[in-house]
Symmetry: C2
Subunit: 318 residues, 2 copies
């Protein structure tokens, strides 16, 4: 199978690239390297089945040319910065909504019919039900990130109905693991490297979040795609557990052997539009036989170990 | 109150302009006249409280300049062509999603905080529940029009949360009445003028649809806006009835005194992405004291009477 991966140099995209290559597929990677890293592709470049195109998903002619001849698209290019969306509202619109439109148009132009899409549990906003199933009551959007991802989902759904595409939409919790370079563990470890005696925490530390280890995430995606959708399938991807930010801090500081004084920004939310509780009902993907192998605690530790072994990630991401 | 109306020369927009002027408000109208009609603004232009700006919602500097100093935005500019969305997928993205983003950005630039938005029952796709309440199970999108309007809603919701906007989102059924110039009555009357002996019907004629008379629609919008939202309010707007396309054909042909032979395209849906059944639960807006005054049947007849009295609408709309 010849696969096309947008955001191929990103955290999730590059791990998907490696897995697809290991599984014997051809991979065309596509990335503008705005946040992606060449170093995430070292393993991939060893393979004859991999080629990388430097390009922007907003450049439709280039995107279409690169996609030509592929059988399936993994669309993982995105602006993944949830927290600072309000500082630059156009970024989510362009990178998540218009970019997804372009991917769909490139597919239409090149005759590719299958797409996997990285959506997010953030589209549930502050849901009425926990754990939150895919068919929860129609939610209101609380972040530009969530709004832009829901717009992307909606476009995929309409293309499936209108043009006979086959869509696999995955609503992720936060993903952890090797090449993670964005999020609370990234921020906490940087802070503790600089000053192990103090840690500033957004919100009250009681925010409850769910996390999933990257290889478990990829297992689920590839399993779901073995069950062809007549049209469009939507799956939550997460674990059957959640943790408080404070618990995660406990695992991190214990692992580092530090005992910082904690100071809290206060409030239930880390920032405007933050979801104080994310916990997805994943029984739909589990019904296909998938089970996550790594607990949240172990995912946090593995992520921390990765960051400790790869300080260069901090140099390039600032 | 100084109001700003996008799509001011359209069917719904121009009726809203007239009502706002009659209620003693100032109105700045904004329209690119791609489908809007100067003749819909004849009444408005008699008022000293009205000024019209010819401009495109995709032109953000012009939009912001025109909006400056207003208190509230009625955002009704849209691509309302549901049926032919698949022929030009970019139109819905630009005219409904990006346009709404621009309206929100213009509001942010000019300090306007209140917005009313014309969304659609089409965002429910093929819902799991009838009549469909606002908090029905998270639906899948079946049309580019629905997808683009849901994206617009989602942006408004995120701006309300993130920037303290106050949003009123109205999910319309099809609207009927004076200045109607698009939809099944428009198409059927045109066909019957040309050939009263035959009428071609999309689908099997059993599609069940709900309709609302324009003045009832405006009553509901203005009433809802008297109940300030702390953040964002979503209301279905429709009647407590629906009709089959065949019933509507009966009212039209009876009123015209013709007995055409009916031929059907077949299938449950009029076109790909058509909803075979639209029937909204409007108890939320009704709980504010609103009741529609015009039945679907009377709305159809009034619309037909308008079209009979205004054949120029066919000349300009082809």
């Amino acid at each position: 199978m010849k696969t096309f991966v947008t955001g191929a140099a990103g955290f999730i995209g590059s791990n998907v690239v490696d897995r697809l290559l290991d599984d014997g597929h051809e991979v065309v990677g596509y990335d503008n390297f705005s946040t992606g890293q060449e170093r995430f592709l070292v393993h991939a470049h060893h393979s004859d089945a991999f080629c990388m195109v430097h390009g922007d998903v907003l450049d439709l002619p280039r995107l279409s040319a690169a996609m030509s001849g592929c059988d399936v698209v993994f669309h993982f290019a995105a602006n993944a910065d949830v927290r600072f969306g309000l500082d630059h509202p156009k970024r989510d619109l362009e990178q998540n909504t218009i970019a997804t439109f372009n991917v769909l148009e490139a597919m239409r132009a090149t005759g590719v019919k299958r797409i996997a899409f990285s959506s997010t549990g953030s589209i549930y906003g502050e849901p009425s039900q926990f754990p939150t199933p895919e068919n929860v009551a129609f939610p209101l959007q609380t972040s530009l990130y969530g709004a832009s991802k829901l717009a992307g989902e909606s476009l995929i759904q309409a293309y499936c109905e209108g043009y006979g595409f086959e869509g696999y939409i995955f609503r992720f919790v936060s993903i952890l693991g090797e090449r993670y370079s964005h999020g609370h563990i990234f921020d906490f470890y940087r802070s503790l490297r600089e000053n192990p005696d103090e840690l500033r925490v957004l919100g009250n530390g009681r925010q409850r979040k769910s996390y999933l280890y990257i290889q478990d995430c990829i297992d689920a995606i590839l399993l779901a795609m073995q069950h062809p959708a007549s049209c469009v399938h939507v799956y939550n991807l997460g674990t059957d557990e959640y943790c408080e930010v404070n618990q995660s801090i406990g695992w991190i500081t214990e692992s580092l052997g530090v005992k910082p004084r904690l100071s809290y920004g206060g409030g239930e939310r880390g920032w405007v539009g933050d979801s104080p509780f994310i916990f997805l009902d994943c029984s739909k993907i589990r019904s296909l036989g998938w089970t996550p192998k790594v607990t949240i605690r172990d995912g946090v530790i593995r992520t921390l170990d990765y960051l400790r072994a790869n300080p260069w990630v901090y140099e390039v991401r600032g």
